[in-house]
Symmetry: C2
Subunit: 157 residues, 2 copies
């Protein structure tokens, strides 16, 4: 994961070139899938979705690209505890679709919630600022997840 730094603004194509990366067919295809499918795709999900139209894009490339996208801050890598990373397009803490996650520890169902987001984000922003200063961290991302049992799994046995 070289050339990590480069959190500029701008988007997609320009962003890539500006950081010395090339926006190739494969990468575009991956971004395309991510922007169309509703969140939480695993590397394999993406690979499978891409394969019909781009049979020559390998799983390795998907992983590599997700890594790059992630280091550019364009994609968020999520972990719901099932041993398989998920990815979703990042939209910044103030983006219209910003959400947090509610994860069932039994069936691994994931609910995106946006309720309370405003309050959370506000608090988070302050916290981020304070922590960044105190610990000399350059904070780029946050994860808020609630774990528990979903409707079905509470009653299931």
């Amino acid at each position: 994961m070289p050339r990590g730094e480069c959190q500029g603004q701008g988007w997609w194509h320009g962003r890539f070139r500006g950081c010395g990366y090339r926006l190739t067919i494969g990468r575009e295809a991956i971004l395309d899938v991510l922007s169309k499918a509703p969140g939480h795709l695993s590397a394999e999900d993406i690979y499978i979705k891409i394969h019909p139209g781009h049979p020559n894009v390998g799983l390795t490339t998907v992983y590599r690209t997700l890594d790059v996208l992630s280091s550019l801050g364009m994609v968020s890598k999520l972990d719901f505890g099932d041993g398989r990373a998920r990815y979703e397009l990042a939209e910044g803490p103030k983006g219209a679709h910003h959400h947090h996650h509610l994860v069932c520890t039994d069936c691994n169902k994931v609910i995106d919630y946006t309720d309370f987001i405003d309050e959370e984000v506000e608090l988070l922003r302050e916290t981020e600022k304070g922590l960044g200063k105190k610990y000399n961290f350059k904070i780029t991302n946050h994860v808020i997840q609630f774990y528990g049992l979903c409707d079905k799994c509470i009653h299931k046995k």
Copy 2:
């Protein structure tokens, strides 16, 4: 992970028995290590710490026990994104040592912070309540983590 349900109160010994589990030497040793060492131990860390005094407790057992402890809510399973789970004794959202995490995505250094915890916890409690009701979730845990670059890694090229 059988017999999942059993989030009673009480602690340790009584808690085990009450749920049909046995509190064996190995399990006690694991709880002991967790309660003494400062948080964030991986399964292997625990295995290594235990081994001198309990050479007959295998890594498998450590994993199994952590699983049980986790399902009993006595231990929190953490993920810092380095592909290796960490565990720490759970203390409940209101526990004296409750903290959240600040993770460097470059060197994987983890800082426990307690600043802002009060505000966070308060908001969290409300959110938890609201979400639980709205989505019919029985929320048992939450994760709040900030990711970024630590002091050293910002400047390290």
